[in-house]
Subunit: 351 residues, 2 copies
């Protein structure tokens, strides 16, 4: 690739595709001039959009296909019947070494199934996980798994910790990110076997992980650790509960500002500052859930995103390429496998 | 008890005890004039406080004990060594039929362990659960389990659904509350066996439950269902993540208002309305986590609460007594056990 990074784009995935995909790529090219783009999808729809983006045109190719994975397609069906879909062809380009990463705003379940099939799991990793960002008082944290694995054992959680740590290093640029296991504070029963077993492993001498210990749900937003590791059921519920709470808060805030004439006046004065607040909580900034643990880079952009959000998702993929995500994962997996399980009792794993 | 309700109070539990316990009881007496109070704890400290509350004095007795369960005591230690503690004696009063309910702001784990031991589990209930309120756009919902049971099977979740439904009827005054199971939206793997199995049972013909189906984390705050059922690990993480998100939002809001002179001015105008907002999200209003499934009523008040919060917790216990919580649970357990497991496939359980 002679120093250039080829990005495979599913041009048809997402509510505003292909428009936001093309515009998103144009934004991403300004940020990463070393990128070339392969657009997979309906050429008659992509071409006119691309023609409007002069800078982008010279760095783009279109790989035509009529097939699209619909938003409501079942993963198993998409896998069986979507062999020529824009989503699948973008992933195949990564598998074949033609592209360094693939980005899609399409159907999450289908993308996960196809990415697993096309890219395969990295040696030493049993199950891939979905990771994303969580805004915190200190900036942002990485959290995984967010729904790929409903039930996880200690070994899965240890692998998630490794993958999340490398992701935080390569994408957030942290030299030595702290990693925590999400747990509950009931004194009676502190966590389940998987969490306690994973803590033992992560705390063992020689572990490549800067292990913080356990965190509870209310410490995520405080930014207590850079990487929060949990099973896919808990992680999915936690992230969505946080989203729902933000919506609830905004709803309460809105009715507070409508409460009196004074409050309305206050709103007028505070409006620009409140717009900044909204921006800070804007999911587009945190766009890009990543499938970690695959032998190739695939980023899932939010289905309802716009060009800014899509450009962020491209940025996540490109950062992972530039900073050698896959190589670093391989190194860490090797280091972790070299460590025998620690013999200490569970008690000592309580932070 | 001749129409009067006797409330047993652990006068020594909580950061501001016994002061806020006595003041909380005074507030509760205004709301529930049919109540009498038994204060368990250090009489030399309680008596002077009680003497200042004239209306309350006539309806109160003090049961002196020097023993207190400390905030950091392990549940097993508290159970073994705390037989004469204020917490334990309050629960014993309920077990002996001297009081209708017990309220404590002390150590959660110890209270749970002692309540299980002193009150025993209701017939037909395998494991008690911790329930509390969650503020929503439509008012408030009941959520359980919040940490008593780290791992749960389908039968446990069904029992939680029953207990939560009766709790919503007796405390929120809802005639026919909707009940939902918390689940994740990954198309690939919709929930685990426990969640799917519980959905089948709750949906079966003859089920006493008004079953809404599944909800995802972001639907909790929207108030989509009146009762949200989940295992104790997920529930604890969800509630604490929501708490952390509210703190994060307030932090962001505060810095937004400091952002410019205009914004500061806006804050001055909007201040009364924002105070209302804070009140709406005030945990004191939602104070009182309840141990459901025990053969007696025990309410846990937040350890850091004040008299208002403690009065709310008393109110939760008294509402349960007045509205026949225990009798209703017994009825529902009998109705549910009469239903054979439904033979349908899991597929049909997806809402």
């Amino acid at each position: 690739m002679s120093g250039r990074i080829v990005v495979a784009l599913d041009a048809m995935g997402g509510d505003s595709a292909p428009d936001m995909v093309v515009k998103g790529a144009a934004i991403a090219l300004q940020r990463f001039p070393q990128c070339d783009f392969m657009f997979f999808g309906a050429e008659p729809r992509i071409r006119p959009l691309l023609d409007k983006q002069h800078a982008l045109t010279a760095h783009s190719t279109i790989q035509h296909t009529d097939d699209v994975v619909t938003g409501d397609a079942k993963p198993s069906t998409a896998l069986r019947t979507g062999r020529n879909s824009s989503m699948r062809l973008a992933l195949d380009a990564v598998a074949a070494g033609q592209a360094a990463c693939a980005i899609s705003a399409g159907n999450t379940g289908a993308l996960m199934a196809m990415a697993k099939f096309a890219l395969k799991t990295l040696p030493g990793i049993d199950r891939p996980a979905i990771a994303s960002f969580f805004p915190t008082m200190r900036g942002e944290s990485v959290m995984l798994d967010l729904g790929a694995n409903v039930e996880c054992d200690a070994e899965n959680l240890v692998q998630f910790a490794l993958m999340g740590e490398v992701f935080a290093r390569t994408v957030l640029g942290l030299a030595r990110p702290t990693v925590a296991l999400l747990n509950i504070g009931s004194e009676e029963l502190k966590g389940n076997d998987a969490v306690r077993g994973a803590a033992l492993r992560l705390r063992a001498p020689g572990s490549p992980i800067n292990f913080h210990g356990y965190v509870e749900g209310d410490e995520i937003g405080a930014g207590v650790a850079d990487v929060i590791v949990t099973d896919g059921f808990t992680g999915n519920v936690a992230v969505k509960t946080a989203e729902g709470t933000v919506k609830l808060f905004i709803d309460f805030l809105r009715s507070a500002f409508r409460h009196s004439l004074m409050a309305r006046l206050g709103y007028v004065f505070a409006k620009p500052a409140l717009a900044k607040l909204r921006e800070r909580l804007d999911v587009r900034r945190y766009n890009g859930a990543v499938f970690l643990g695959l032998d190739g880079i695939a980023v899932k952009s939010h289905g309802g995103t716009d060009q800014e959000g899509f450009a962020s998702a491209i940025g996540v993929g490109v950062d992972m390429c530039i900073n050698g995500f896959l190589e670093k994962i391989r190194d860490d997996v090797a280091r972790m496998s070299a460590i025998a399980e620690a013999p200490e009792k569970t008690q000592s794993a309580v932070s």
